[in-house]
Symmetry: C2
Subunit: 431 residues, 2 copies
């Protein structure tokens, strides 16, 4: 089958899937969890093949680590499916209801988006996670994994296909693509694919975003900031900056640049450096920073860099406005935190910093779907439309308007025989 | 100024505009209305020049008609601004609030999208309408109108600029682009422009959609259907189909194709034809239709055509499933109506027809922001993300997450010193 046909079948299946009830979708999720456990030896064997081949091909160590699918990964994946089963169905919710006129009622009802294209790098657990999220939200999914994980991805897809088709989910809803050419075809297929979710490195995500007409949900960079304001509690600030930078460095919501108000820099920077030295964090700083603590110079390039490592850049600013301006210029619209006791500055910061997540007196590391209480996470989006910040299941649905009448025609309103009432009603859609 | 600089300034202004209060935005809207009235002779004079030149250049009559900006248009535009002033501000609404832990509160708060690019053809009133919608929702706007309206657009932009800058709205928030090259530059400027709204012909909108990485809000075609089911009240069906087709033929929500269940076709089609003949509607039909009423044959091309005229295509189908399948194959995802007394079929139709608006026993002509009670309309979207169907002011905002803590760090949750409460709280965001 060529990819156009695959995408066409996914679209066909998505229509039926949109009308599939919660119970059946949950039953299918349970069956996926059951088959994953039942056929785990097949998965591990395929994964060992992928690992062996990748080692022979000298794949980088962090990629090898992400490629691994063992008992631990399996139990994580299964517990993810179990919590997904317990989440409310995002489809079929009445979001608004209005009486337009007597007997003419308008309902805005959530529904699946349609076909989601997912492109991910080495982690095969992402395949299970994202396809079960798509199933719960009633979307078809086209998956393209890295070639290093090809055997693991094939067996995982086969398990999910078998489990769902056995349960009565329309076939064709999940499809695995295998070649790089397929990805480039996929990026052009706006006739059938409604949304693309890329999971992987910054360069990879940027490539996808720049090469498709289809909407992309995700983020390339995560250049997050802490700003320590003049009135800040400096002990609290040290604690928050250390956590934001070092609690887990390899993630998008870790802080990369620290901005410090000039009035507190002299007292604060030595306090911070002492703690950062304990964690072996390399610091680069602007000229004014280097007058206070001994660090190597930062260049403009540093303000644009996501280190994902034990490294922090520091800049001293004259005002909250300069901090905001720096963040809006060099940041990536992900997560930025102000540490301050001055409410006016906090308000300015939270309103003017153009990021999906703006924090006050807490660590940037909190911006995450699970910590936000979403139960499941589709990803973190730096988009300005549809869904922003950590995205839960709600990011995989849209809505349609359902209008129920009884012979109503527009001519009657145009010639003023009838007029609209536009009364809010609090009613769920039901025929 | 080159367009990159213009876009950069619009982005800069959008940051400040995002924090501009309702009162100031409404004051600016009032000032726009006042200056439009005050300087109307300048507008009419500029418009007469545009009309004269366009007539000399033999611009098509419907375009000339849309280009005209006279007392009537002015009063429409001003009454639009007045109702916009009375609408609630879509910015700053708390959409959800959760206590993550004691003293750590998460708020999802609506905010402007940023910079909207608007591209429209001859109608200069669209310039006022869309820029005031952007102002109310706190967005900067880059406008590109048709060259036939250049003088009218210049004076309208100047009035809006003057009125808003006088009131204290950040300058640079509204900018007029004038050349075709500017449009092509604009379509590439995803660094500064967050959303594009095209207003114009199908070909025009399709060109924009196919040539930009930036998200586009709108619709190209409006190929809407009525489906008369086997159990339908045939008198009601005639009334609805006549209204859907003929109440106003030149609009996107007018019906283009009628689908009729085979069991009622013999009785229904002659009834319908009688009424359609009175309105001089040309009918083309499938072979089975032509066995019942005397009409010219329809080709496959007809199912894909938006006539925007007194012309209707008719196809007889064997089942509601075939009707759904036809609509999902040839429709444009805009508006489709079923006329039926069979609830099961209605449910199937409303769930499986993949359109932004699915109707039961009423005219397709109802799908419109004003009829839906939105007060203002940004446009009608056939997108599957962000906003679908008629889009009101809400389509011009997104949200950000604001997290308020008191020294909270993630390490405490990772090492289980603390745990999340994830309690819904019903609180508006306030510092």
């Amino acid at each position: 089958m060529d990819i156009k046909e695959v995408a066409y079948l996914a679209k066909k299946a998505s229509i039926k899937l949109a009308a599939t009830g919660t119970e059946l979708k949950n039953k299918a999720l349970m069956e996926i969890a059951r088959l994953l456990e039942l056929r785990k030896e097949e998965i591990f064997k395929a994964n060992r093949e992928d690992l062996k081949r990748s080692e022979e091909e000298n794949l980088a160590a962090p990629l090898i680590k992400r490629l691994k699918f063992d008992e631990n990964k399996l139990s994580e994946v299964i517990s993810g499916i179990n919590s997904l089963i317990n989440l409310p169905d995002p489809v079929g919710k009445t979001l608004a209801s209005t009486e337009l006129d007597e007997g003419l009622e308008l309902y805005k009802v959530s529904c699946p988006i349609g076909v989601i294209g997912v492109i991910f790098e080495s982690r095969p657990d992402a395949l299970v996670q994202i396809s079960t999220l798509c199933l719960k939200s009633g979307n078809s999914v086209l998956l393209k994994g890295g070639k290093e994980a090809i055997n693991t991805n094939r067996i995982l897809t086969d398990i999910i296909k078998t489990a769902t088709e056995n349960t009565g989910i329309p076939s064709g809803w999940i499809q695995l693509l295998e070649t790089r050419d397929d990805v480039n075809e996929m990026l052009k297929m706006d006739e059938y694919i409604d949304l693309i979710i890329p999971r992987g490195s910054n360069e990879f995500v940027r490539y996808i975003m720049e090469n498709s007409n289809i909407a992309v949900l995700g983020h390339a960079d995560g250049i997050c900031h802490c700003y320590v304001d003049s009135g800040a509690d400096l002990n609290m600030a040290v604690k928050i900056v250390v956590d934001s930078k070092t609690q887990y460095v390899a993630v998008c919501n870790a802080t990369e640049t620290l901005l410090v108000h000039k009035d507190v820099a002299k007292e604060f920077l030595p306090m911070l450096k002492e703690e950062m030295d304990k964690k072996n964090v390399e610091i680069v700083g602007c000229e004014r920073t280097r007058e206070i603590i001994e660090v190597t110079p930062a260049s403009e390039e540093d303000w644009k860099t996501e280190y994902l490592d034990y490294k922090l850049s520091i800049k001293i600013v004259d005002s909250v406005e300069e901090a905001i301006d720096h963040i809006n210029t060099y940041g990536s619209g992900h997560t930025d935190s102000i540490i301050s006791n001055n409410k006016e500055n906090v308000e300015l910061f939270m309103n003017l910093v153009d990021s999906g997540n703006v924090f006050w007196n807490c660590s940037t590391r909190f911006s995450d779907g699970f910590r936000y209480g979403f139960g499941a996470e589709v990803g973190i989006s730096t988009n300005k439309i549809h869904a922003r910040g950590p995205v839960g299941l709600d990011g995989l649905v849209i809505y349609k308007y359902k209008l129920v009448g009884n012979g109503h025609i527009v001519a009657d309103y145009a010639n003023k025989t009838r007029s609209f009432t536009h009364k809010k009603i609090n009613k769920d859609f039901k025929l």
